[in-house]
């Protein structure tokens, strides 16, 4: 009897492990983090205090994501009702030009509650950084906030490979990843 019960429990555990959130067709999801949504549209109100004089390309980077053939709908809102907030400041010689944080309800869930994009003036406003380099960082941080991981070796704005700055807006790879995550 004990053996039979153990077998049944083991089978249940196995079934539980197999039944989970839908998996993406691609491996470049970030730990399965995911925005809950009530319909097809992934509506993400974005509150931005990014200095448009210093970052004139920022609104283009946001629009780039929204214009992809995906459910993503980043759109600017004021200081209430937002889900994603973007800021810029001189964070110093940290080694990173952009920083994306996502918050989940609890450590053991994947549902994102809110997210941030930080743009580091120390690098992004330094000589040698033009529109393309800045848009690459912005595209990547906005992609992280959707739940995307880095995509080394791919023609992708989610890649940090040397030379990847040429991919300064969402490419087919990101579109496929997003549509796999949010069908």
């Amino acid at each position: 009897m004990r053996r039979q019960t153990a077998t049944v429990l083991f089978a249940l555990m196995l079934a539980t492990m197999m039944i989970g959130p839908p998996t993406a067709a691609d491996a470049h999801r970030w730990n399965g983090y995911y925005w809950p949504r009530s319909g097809w549209l992934l509506d993400l109100p974005l509150y931005s205090t990014v200095n448009s004089g210093q970052y004139p390309e920022w609104s283009l980077a946001v629009q780039d994501w929204t214009s992809t053939p995906t459910p993503v709908n980043y759109h600017f809102v004021g200081s209430s009702g937002w889900k994603v907030m973007a800021v810029n400041a001189d964070y110093g010689a940290t080694g990173w030009s952009g920083y994306a944080i996502i918050y989940t309800s609890w450590p053991w869930t994947s549902d994102i509650t809110d997210a941030r994009v930080l743009l580091n003036d120390y690098y992004m406003l330094s000589p040698g950084w033009g529109e393309i380099e800045k848009r690459h960082t912005e595209c990547q941080e906005l992609g992280h906030d959707l739940g995307l991981d880095h995509a080394p070796g791919y023609a992708s704005c989610m890649s940090n490979d040397p030379g990847a700055t040429q991919y300064f807006y969402a490419q087919q790879h990101e579109v496929d990843d997003i549509n796999g995550m949010y069908p």
Binding site: M1, Q4, T5, V8, L9, L12, A15, T16, I19, P21, W30, N31, Y33, P36, S38, Y47, T49, S79, S80, G81, W82, K83, M85, A86, V87, A89, Y91, G92, A93, T94, G95, W96, S97, G98, Y99, A100, I101, I102, Y103, T104, S105, W106, P107, T109, D111, T113, D114, R116, L118, Y123, H136, T137, E141, H144, D149, H150, P152, N160, D161, P162
Partner: protein, 197 residues
Amino acid sequence: MSRRSWIVTLGLLASALVALVITSLAMAASPPPQSGPPTAQQHGNAKVTWVENYTTMDAAVKSADVVIHGQVLAVSPGRSLDAGGGATVPFTNITVRVLGHLKGSPDPVGTLTIEQTGGDSPRGPVIVIEDPPYKVGETYLWLLRKVPAGHRIISPDGRFHIESGKLIPVKQGGASEQWRGKTLTGVQVEVARSLVS
């Protein structure tokens, strides 16, 4: 199998299925709509766009200001920056006892501080996935950049855990894989070669 066993087994199965359904419903439930930042203790995860990226460890060595191996003496909270809407970017200071240097001269000799992005914040821990938290007593080899706060890793390609005398890159994939499994002596030869080429 007796009738009693079947009843017990079916009872367990039904109970487990009910628990599974309840758990799935709870997990699928959307959080309440946001109106600004939530205030509850949460869990933060961070990804960053690294400024320095390398295809070879030779290039990484040439770029680094300092290459050392050492032991983590202390892990303590560092500065904290505003990330907007009640969120912060925490930093952690890692005090390292230098056991040997392969490039550059650590200052002060004996110990140095590495500033790491990530750490505890009012909304819970924030971890940069490719540069995870340190533990006191661990030994590493680092490729470092000198910065006003002390030092930082050049990128995740510049951090190797030393286990049983062998290097294990902290980052999965990329240039640092070229040093996976090498001994300190082996890496010393590689660094010396990079510095003269």
